[in-house]
Symmetry: C2
Subunit: 432 residues, 2 copies
């Protein structure tokens, strides 16, 4: 074993960073044995130097992250500060000055992964980011490496713990969205500003990363269709339950049937209770991967939190350090297929549509005609009185598979019917 | 991209081998793009040369596997013949003559993995074997690499599809073991001689491999406690259902509470229906991994079959080829902890024991005394008449956690009681 230690710089020392530093200290012998050389924490860049950080020597702490990544003696930079800048500049600067990088930064990778990959390749460094998607769940490495000899056709999963916690509460207790969000906030599952989670931005960033790796092409955050869960109502949950389903916020990346394009999207969807994703509770994450030869694989575990995310970071750290000792690099960007990303209108799926209609004869025939005119085939219809609204009935339509654009056209036309008082909800049905 | 192809020799062309060859041909462009060089099938060693093999040129087929691995121009040998010899000699010969090896051979790795690792290291080659455990499910790579910065404390899973199929049928239909085995055989899930599966040898080999990697020590097949499922009865399944459980054949690898030893075992066990492993149906596999920082992870998918196993082999092939181009090698054996493997008597778990006893007062007191004398604490007791056996009752005892040796002692003493007519079944209870 080499005795000269590999030097690690840590950018960010919040929930994840402090856990990384802690494990590097407490498990130093194990890490050294697995890497083949000791690793040494050589510097920690923080925003607020005053804060006491247990177990981290004050001498190591600096507010000058740029100077730290430019030192020249750093072997690996661990970036856990998040956001686009200064993270991007710090990472590319680290590459220029001899370091490989382990990052947990999903936003940056989804926004501008290509720049990072290119800089890593130019300087012959590693860029690893298992922690960017689904916390401790090994997902990036299985997709980049284990399935490198297979053809992935679909990735479908729950990749945001906050929204899963909220939907699980709504499903279990009948609570409305606001009430469930309040509980998530109180328990620390939702941040003070929950926008990134509840509007689906976080899941969309992960979908972009997963789609790019799974299909060997470039998918950016802007390519991902995104709907959050703020408009999911207690009534939607009840409708789902009536169908033997539950509602989950899903990230779905698919290769088109003809193989010539891909899609990536994040939205709430009904899935049957018999589907393994239906039983993913609280803030857990789970991701299905469908590949041509492997079939259906599922990966499940805690999708966030300091320790689980640190586990993923440290796994990458060991790999990057081993590569460094072998004077090699791991897999870089693989975007050779250059498959275009199709718009949401091209996605083919099923729909659950709930309409408030006039309670009189002929309405169903009118509605059915609109679906037929748009080429959307109906699977089932359920009609029921609405005691609370005199003269109105509720019509719940579940369609066969149809392009999203055809469904949008159908809904637009339905809204124009005199007998349709309102479209109470539209939700996609997945996992069948 | 390099234009000179990497040369691959395939040892064995059965269900898995022919699928590997097929995908290497149909997905040649993808494999080349991902590796950075084309791969070429340079030879296929088979036992019976006469058999027509679709898509494989006759010129490539040979019965002289030794000559093939000695050719000197082979970059990677894929070994899918199974068994100890000639596989072991062929693999070590391949290392000597310049090739790295991808193997699906669980029996050999469990029996003598150390020899293979040592030969690979001596000659600077790679030894990859994702396909040896749980087919297409990425498990070896996540344990060896993703969790390399974490401390794994437990691996618990269903790693044999045949036995899961049999138990699933018994649970679903009330069928007995023989009937369920017949169905498995008819559907191709069980081999003509099912011994390796139903007696737990296959699962035990996988447990040895998983334990060694998870705990960074050496665990051989002989170190694994093993009970098959041939003695599981329809009555056991009913007892399990009555407890809100189902019966699964589990492979369980654990680090002792004090951290100074490990255990590995395979046996039927009751697990609660609420446990995710309870819903693993038919021939699917699923493995739970519990690590200190990551928490509970689960990996699920098809555990066997030509295409899924080929997917795992080809993922390894891509990795080994990349390493070859980079003139590097991936992770080798990691057995630095040298933790000893404790015997089954040291395993601490819970038990479900069904006794046939005399139906008269004082029996429960006698039985309870025997448990107490052996330090086994009782959780619940259920007593019921046995209309089919006059003067007898049935006593079902579920214990708290206790060492297996204490339980064995208890059962031995119970058998000596006059009032105990027989021990109808003993089954461990896991996953709580």
């Amino acid at each position: 074993m080499r005795t000269r230690p590999l030097k690690v710089a840590l950018l960010g020392c919040g929930v994840v960073g402090s856990e990384v530093a802690r494990i590097m200290t407490t498990h130093a012998d194990d890490l050294a044995a697995r890497i083949g050389a000791p690793v040494e924490l050589a510097g920690v860049a923080v925003r607020r130097p005053g804060k006491v950080r247990e177990g981290i020597s004050e001498d190591l702490v600096t507010t000058d992250a740029t100077a730290l990544v430019k030192r020249g003696d750093i072997d690996v930079v661990i970036e856990v500060i998040g956001g686009i800048e200064p993270a991007r500049t710090l990472i590319t600067t680290a590459f220029e000055h001899g370091a490989s990088v382990v990052s947990a930064n999903k936003a940056l990778l989804a926004e501008d992964g290509a720049t990072l990959y290119a800089a890593a390749e130019q300087h012959g460094r590693d860029l690893y980011f298992e922690a960017a998607v689904a916390g401790a769940i090994p997902l990036i490495r299985p997709l980049r490496e284990s399935l490198a000899g297979d053809k992935v056709n679909r990735v479908l999963g729950i990749v945001n713990g906050t929204t899963n916690f909220i939907l699980d509460k709504m499903d279990g207790s009948g609570a409305g969205y606001s009430e469930a969000l309040d509980e998530a906030t109180a328990l620390g599952y939702a941040e003070a500003d929950p926008t990134a989670d509840v509007e689906g931005f976080d899941a969309a960033a992960k979908a972009a990363i997963l789609a790019g790796i799974a299909f060997h092409t470039r998918v950016r955050l802007d390519d991902v269709y995104r709907e959050g869960l703020t408009e999911v109502t207690a009534a939607d949950i009840v409708s789902a339950q009536r169908m033997g389903c539950t509602v989950k916020l899903l990230a779905i990346c698919e290769r088109a049937a003809d193989g010539n394009s891909v899609t990536a999207r994040v939205h709430p969807a009904m899935i049957p209770l018999s589907h393994p994703l239906a039983s993913v509770r609280e803030a857990y994450n789970a991701v299905f991967v469908e590949a041509e030869a492997a079939g259906q694989l599922m990966f499940y575990g805690p999708g966030a939190g300091g320790a689980p995310t640190a586990s993923a970071v440290l796994g990458d750290l060991v790999a990057v350090c081993r590569n460094k000792l072998a004077e090699a690099t791991g897999p870089g960007e693989s975007a050779y297929t250059q498959l275009p990303v199709s718009p949401m209108g091209d996605v083919v799926t099923r729909y659950h549509i709930s309409l408030d209609v006039a309670d009189k004869p002929g309405v169903l025939a009118q509605v059915a005609t609109v679906f037929a005119e748009h080429g959307v085939s109906i699977d089932t219809v359920r009609q029921q009185g609405r005691p609370e609204a005199d003269g109105e009935a509720s019509l719940v339509v579940v369609t066969h598979r149809a392009p999203d654009a055809a469904l949008s056209g159908t809904v637009e036309a339905l809204r124009k019917l005199d007998t349709v008082r309102g479209v109470a909800s539209i939700m996609r049905v997945e996992g069948e």
